[in-house]
């Protein structure tokens, strides 16, 4: 056996010297594997590429000086960040590399954060410690988080920034949608500050729905909410005909009458459409409610429900009762109690009653409901969680009806079931689920929403921002947002303000809407006589706005009550009303102020003092400002408008006391007089009826 020279092995290991030599070579070669791997590593390849690239640039020396070879790392123990991305992304901080398109050498675009303090993966996700492209960017067996697609990048801002930021419109929109579309009725969202996200859509109570509408309408609405109103936030539950029939049967059978709900006024509903349209316009109903016009555009706001087909929906007697005082049917409604007289109620209700669509209910024929159908309807109402959003007598609001979303942005992909053909990433899953929830399983209860692609991206962005990091962030790093207070005005005036729904539009002490000016310091700002007159008969202050203060038909005693309260309570300590007089300024002061107004500060670009010459159309008209505002307020405003009303568009000119005093004198001399009527009738007012949204 040994005689047969098995030549190859024999040659190598024939005698001990040879064997030693060969083993040494193998040993040396294997020793070289690690250095070789290191030498041929991806990051070294990219660093060589970078050096080749900068060699031909004019600022090569500077770039060369900034360059450090080897693995680079940003280590932030507090945030759990170990990011080696800069080993390949070498030029991230080089200001001169903006013209480089090839990655990984581009300069990082300008952001408000320093890369050394934040690292990369906090915003971009991915595996920071990895040193190969595939491991750093993609999800691997050991690492779930791939690089976040650019369109969701704002979600990363939302991990620390709890409130809206000017530079993150998509995140802000997504967060608003979560509240506004009522997602959080069913899905609990605990915010990192310990509070729970609240819905802002205010779905109506269904306990007295038979007073308001017919079973046929409920049926048609359930089948296709957007068929009734394209702007409706009610989702489509894709109910079968039978299920819609039974739910409508239950809701009507379950409804109890509410006293005062069908108290029809004695006057016959007026059939004068012109009078109705003008009362609708004067009352600025369009500030909150939209109506689809003949060309299909929505005209009006989205605070209240769309009224295009309201006559098909509500019963005439309910409509009259609602217009008379909406608070009888819904004590918490955001709609003001307008104090219309009987004739006005009849006119407006008649006008709205005629907004019908005969097609909507034409194919709905329901037989009398049987007890079985009603019982089945009740079961369906419980099953679908209708009471999560709507108050329904006899049905308890379900708790934790849908999965909690507080940490959805860190949900492991191994726990997700993807649709065929879908990319296996969390963002794709979230977006897909919002787009078409029932595609994931026909038995799911989540209804179909009518979001645009852009809204889906925004919602996904907001959801991805709620993750482990946002929930476990050291408090020192979190940037809290402004939270709404639950401020309530006191006493009789407070009751009146709630009845008039002032807070639907105005904000006071951090509570309320943002459609109209913040009134927190209104008492320091205006003169009492002007305020009383304005409440009685609101005129146009800002000609370019299409949303205006409506006339609420207040009595004299109500006006006095409100005026007294506002003048006494809503005062800022920074304005001493008595420090400057309302009149009696010297002619020289007034003239100096006039020169500053038209010259140095060119205020006429935005404001009108003389209706014959000035055209400025952005700020309030100032023809009557001397009888509207207090002199001390104007003086302080000139010096720093944002200190009195944060966020106001008026630029802070940092005026000297002399300039501010002269301008105050000039403005206080503008008391209106004969010019007044010409402003109001100047035709500058864009007619809300003609103004189409979008």
């Amino acid at each position: 056996m040994n005689e047969k020279p098995t030549s190859f092995w024999q040659k190598l290991f024939g005698d001990s010297t040879r064997a030693f030599g060969v083993v040494s070579v193998i040993f040396l070669a294997s020793m070289a594997i690690a250095p070789a791997k290191n030498f041929f590593s991806e990051w070294r390849h990219y660093q060589h590429g970078y050096l080749r690239m900068i060699r031909n640039r004019s600022e090569a020396n500077t770039l060369q000086r900034h360059f450090t070879g080897g693995i680079q790392q940003v280590w932030l123990p507090e945030l759990g960040v170990v990011d080696r991305c800069t080993s390949c992304h070498v030029g991230l901080k080089e200001a001169s590399l903006t013209d480089v398109a090839t990655q990984p050498y581009r300069k990082h675009p300008a952001i408000p954060h320093n890369l050394d303090q934040f690292g990369c993966t906090i915003c971009h996700r991915g595996q920071g410690a990895a040193t190969t492209v595939a491991e750093a960017h993609s999800s691997t067996l050991a690492w779930e988080q791939p690089i976040l697609p650019a369109k969701y990048i704002e979600s990363s801002c939302g991990q620390c920034h709890r409130g809206p930021l000017l530079g993150t419109p998509q995140l802000n929109q997504g967060r608003n949608l979560l509240s506004r579309q009522g997602c959080v009725h069913c899905h609990m969202v605990k915010l990192a500050d310990g509070s729970t996200m609240k819905a802002t859509d205010d779905p109506p109570s269904l306990s007295h729905i038979a007073d308001k509408t017919s079973r046929e309408w409920i049926y048609a609405w359930l089948k296709d909410p957007q068929g009734y109103a394209s702007t409706s936030t009610m989702p489509n539950f894709k109910l079968s005909d039978g299920d819609a029939r039974d739910i409508s049967a239950f809701l009507i059978a379950n409804s109890t009458p509410l006293p005062g709900d069908s108290a029809i006024v004695s006057a016959k509903a007026s059939a004068d459409p012109a009078a109705g349209a003008s009362l609708y316009g004067e009352s600025f109903c369009a500030s909150c409610h939209a109506v689809q016009n003949a060309v299909g555009n929505m005209v009006g706001g989205d605070v209240g429900p769309e009224l295009t087909r309201v006559g098909t929906k509500v019963k005439p007697e309910w409509l009259q009762a609602w217009v008379r005082n909406p608070r009888v049917y819904d004590p918490a409604t955001g709609m003001p109690h307008y104090r219309f007289n009987d004739a006005q109620v009849a006119t407006l209700a008649g006008f709205l009653r005629d907004k019908t669509d005969s097609d909507f209910l034409s194919n709905v024929h329901l037989d009398l409901a049987t007890p079985d159908q009603i019982a089945h309807g009740k079961r369906l109402v419980s099953d679908y969680g209708c009471a999560s959003c709507h108050e329904i007598a006899g049905i308890k609001k379900p708790e934790n009806f849908a999965p909690e979303l507080s940490r959805i942005g860190s949900k492991p992909t191994t726990q997700l079931i993807f649709l065929p053909g879908m990319q296996h990433t969390l963002p794709d899953y979230v977006a897909g689920k919002i787009k078409n929830p029932r595609a994931f399983s026909p038995g799911l209860k989540m209804p179909q929403y009518t979001f645009t692609a852009q809204q889906i991206d925004a919602l996904t962005t907001a959801l991805l921002s709620m993750n482990e990091r946002s929930n476990t962030l050291p408090p020192s790093l979190a940037v809290p947002g402004k939270t709404d207070t639950d401020y309530q005005p006191a006493g009789k005036a407070g009751k009146l303000m709630n009845d008039l729904a002032c807070f639907s539009c105005h904000r006071i002490n951090g509570h309320g809407g943002d459609m109209a000016p913040d009134l927190t310091w209104e008492g320091s700002s205006v003169q009492r006589a002007w305020l009383a007159e304005f409440l009685k008969n609101p005129g146009t202050l800002r000609p370019s706005l299409i949303r205006r203060m409506p006339r609420l038909n207040l009595t004299d005693s109500e006006v006095n009550e409100l005026t007294d309260y506002i003048m006494t309570v809503y005062q800022t300590p920074n304005v001493d009303r008595d420090s400057l007089p309302l009149s009696g300024y010297s002619q020289g002061q007034v003239e100096l102020g006039r020169q500053l107004f038209y010259g140095k500060y060119s205020c006429q670009g935005c404001h009108i003092v003389d209706t014959k010459t000035d055209k400025g159309y952005i700020g309030p008209t100032l023809t009557h400002v001397g009888s509207r505002l207090s002199a001390a307020w104007i003086f302080e405003w000139m010096k720093n408008p944002q200190s009195l009303r944060p966020g106001t568009v008026e630029p802070n000119r940092a005026m000297s006391d002399e300039d501010a005093r002269a301008l105050t004198a000039f403005l206080m001399s503008q008391k209106g007089g004969e010019k007044s009527s010409s402003v109001r009738a100047s035709g500058n007012k864009p007619h809300t009826e003609e103004v189409a949204k979008r």
Partner: protein, 244 residues
């Protein structure tokens, strides 16, 4: 061993057939051939990086007579990173083809090429430009909406009545690249910060230096550069399709 080889072969085959299915345009058979392709709508839009353009891009194919040509195949192309949905389409009854565009992850200009074949199978092409805004430009855009747009944009919308016509000295719309590109970044920032008189311009342009922060002003300059037409030197990179 043999079984393994056949298995491997089988996978390879599967792989190749799978790939050929990817090409959607193969399924679309044009029934008409136009002679020109024109923009209907959707050019020069702004969107954040990586995001969907607010409006679809719509192009129209016309025939020799200049009338719309239904049934022509339009292929859309753009730089890698841009998502076109769909990437090719047949023109509808009014001769139009529509695609939804998501821009790439880098700020800058993206060229969308729409092309169709004419009767002699020559490619007729239309190029549209879209603008992707990074963080800084997006911030600038919001500041523009809040503070600048009412005067600098002459067009009125339902929600925003323009003040442009009311001004004695007309402000420059920010797209007016011919004028604005000649002003340096520093000078633009100076005008915004200190007002028109800082550079011997109208006092109707107020000073914003006490209202806006330095980084706000820089963001506004970045936005003005991003939207200028023709593009400024500082408009950012242009991304064009290099695939074909």
């Amino acid at each position: 061993m043999k079984a393994q080889v056949t298995l491997l072969l089988g996978f390879a085959l599967l792989g190749t057939t799978g790939c050929s299915h990817k090409d959607e345009s193969a399924a679309l058979k044009p029934t008409a051939f136009g002679s020109a392709i024109v923009e209907s709508s959707g050019g020069k839009q702004l969107a954040q990086t990586g995001s969907l353009l607010p409006q679809s891009v719509v192009v129209q194919v016309n025939n020799d007579q200049g009338t719309a040509d239904p049934g022509a195949l339009v292929e859309f192309a753009a730089a890698p990173g841009v998502n076109l949905d769909p990437a090719s389409a047949l023109t509808d009854s009014s001769g139009q083809a529509t695609t939804n565009v998501s821009l790439g992850g880098m700020a800058g200009r993206y060229e969308i090429a729409a092309s169709t074949l004419d009767k002699s199978h020559k490619r007729v092409e239309l190029k549209l430009e879209e603008i992707a805004l990074g963080y800084q430009q997006t911030l600038g855009r919001r500041l523009n909406d809040q503070y600048c747009d009412r005067c600098h944009n002459s067009e009125s919308t339902a929600e925003r009545v323009s003040n442009y016509d009311n001004l004695e000295v007309k402000p420059h719309p920010f797209s007016e690249g011919d004028t604005l590109n000649k002003i340096s970044d520093a000078d633009l920032a100076a005008i915004i910060t200190n007002g028109g008189p800082a550079l011997q311009k109208s006092a109707l342009m107020p000073a914003w230096g006490n209202t806006l922060s330095k980084s706000d002003v820089q963001a506004l300059v970045a936005y003005i550069r991003a939207v200028s037409d023709p593009p400024s030197r500082n408009s950012g990179l242009s991304y064009i399709d290099t695939g074909h």
